[in-house]
Symmetry: C2
């Protein structure tokens, strides 16, 4: 299995992307770097590493409009998608421009049958492990049918991740059926019909970290607000704790003694641990990471992509969608 | 200034409500307990305290439907609102049934001129102090004009809270104008027109804890999800830290030394510190707390109500709304 990495994508590309690819290759991932050959060779030389390169003369900077990709077929992300489409690689990973990656995937690969809108799946640490939420921001306004498709894709992803018997919660502002906004009220009966026992019912904001349901579906506006709020809160809270632990000589000594234990908590909420999140509903395995990714995040993204492709992610998504229409 | 406390509202009423009132009275708040006289007298006797009581023979349990209040004029929350309407008290505080309190307030007091929908203002701790967000859950589906009114009310509240030159951010999924869902895209130009310099522009989920804008407006669905997510995350994260700090003898010793510093962080994110949040846009000062409130939260709610009424909250809200229509 080969994975194409858009080596030009991300705030610190191609430095960290090549580094991350090198780290993943050491763990046995077969990576194909896609990007400007001369620059990638230079980065590889710096690391004393050798990895295969597929040349792409152009790339889409972070500030570019997403729709640019259609005109720029020679850009690294478009070339990577084309390799995926032709079966030369089995997945594409990009740490860059989320919008451009989604546009390139949709344009080149198309949608899985039964999917109206692809969705970004994002991950939260939870008391019971992890919570998978979609849509994380691909579709700001959603129709009830989109959320039903998100649910089927989320279940497929959770199963490919190794979860047994995952359930889907519908994000709302009250547990009872009948609580929520217009979208939730319309979606509830559809999810009940489509998923039966696998539908948990409504969940609330607090359930995301409690891990009440393994998969949570919501529109991409609410999902993206939730994702960024959670990241911001973790950062601020851990900053306060750090501050508190350096506020006095006694606290500093305590912090020193508890350092290892506290680092574990920080790692648990660090987005770099997840690496990249899948764009579900396109005809190919596509993973998108944080633009601010470091080499560790790039490595983790590649490892995760490999394990999900190996677990048959795309076939599971197709099967989940087709089961909705039986 | 007298404040009516719905002494029958909340999961642990009237025990904690009477206790909280007693604590607030010790700090000079003139509290009027509204509820079943015999039960309130018994609670007061247990504390060896004496506080004025206004008898109300009925109350609305937490599981009751909010619309019940219209039929139950003798319930503590309806009696309290009536006292406010007649000017016998200057504010109502309830730790109970949010829906019933909102319904009672709307029914008895009516709306401030220019307000289509009252909103709940909720508070988040932030790196720069506090972030006031509305709507926290009163209106699951909103129109752009509602959000403009929320912005004016939020500014009035922020100023009554003592903030200088507060700004309003529109919660969205990208900083640039043109990012967001349909509601945000329609609301942006309206806020720009209505607020001028006081409109910060779009903010994202992460900005709530960063404190980028002092006031954040969003629909009540997104706002309520954000509130409960933030509370759940704080609880889970602090739980993990506690776990980490007791995971080894060394960490335990460290935790002991850093205990005071860590408690400060916990207090900073504890909802009880805020006590209660205002229902803005009704013709009276109404504050609603967590149903799970303890006596400290009840006391803080009463103190906060007093300080905001003293700062002319209602007049400021009226002025803010009327300025929208100049």
């Amino acid at each position: 299995m080969r994975i194409a990495l858009d080596a030009m994508g991300g705030d610190r590309a191609p430095g960290v992307t090549v580094q991350g690819a090198f780290l993943a290759a050491k763990e046995g991932v077969e990576v194909l770097l896609v990007g400007e050959e001369a620059r990638l060779r230079a980065e590889l030389a710096r690391l004393g590493a050798s990895l295969p390169i597929h040349h792409a003369p152009d790339w889409i900077p972070m500030e570019e409009h997403a729709t640019e990709v259609r005109k720029r077929r020679e850009s690294s992300i478009m070339v990577a998608m084309d390799l995926l489409k032709r079966g030369e690689v089995q997945a594409v990973v990009s740490m860059g421009h989320t919008g451009a990656t989604m546009a390139a995937a949709l344009f080149t690969l198309g949608r899985v049958k039964g999917v109206e809108r692809p969705a970004l799946l994002v991950e939260f640490p939870s008391q019971r492990g992890r919570t998978f939420l979609l849509d994380g921001g691909a579709n700001a306004d959603c129709r009830p049918s989109f959320l039903v498709q998100f649910a089927a894709m989320g279940l497929a992803y959770a199963e490919a991740s190794g979860l047994k018997d995952p359930k889907v919660g519908l994000l709302s502002i009250g547990e009872e059926e009948g609580k929520g906004n217009a979208l939730v009220l319309e979606t509830y009966p559809l999810l009940k019909d489509a998923l039966g026992e696998r539908f948990f019912g409504n969940v609330e904001g607090r359930d995301i970290f409690l891990g009440t349901a393994e998969v949570v579906v919501t529109d991409g506006f609410t999902g993206n607000v939730a994702l960024k709020l959670a990241e911001g809160e973790a950062k601020v809270l851990l900053g306060w704790i750090k501050e508190a632990l350096t506020s006095s000589p006694l606290a500093r000594l305590g912090a020193l003694l508890a350092r290892g234990a506290l680092r574990k908590v920080r790692d648990r909420v660090d987005p770099a641990q997840y690496g990249a999140m899948p764009l579900l509903g396109v005809e190919g395995a596509v993973f998108i990471g944080h633009g601010s990714a470091d080499a560790l995040a790039v490595k983790n993204a590649l490892l995760r992509a490999r394990s999900l492709v190996a677990a048959g992610l795309l076939d599971r998504v197709r099967a989940g969608l087709s089961a909705l229409h039986v």
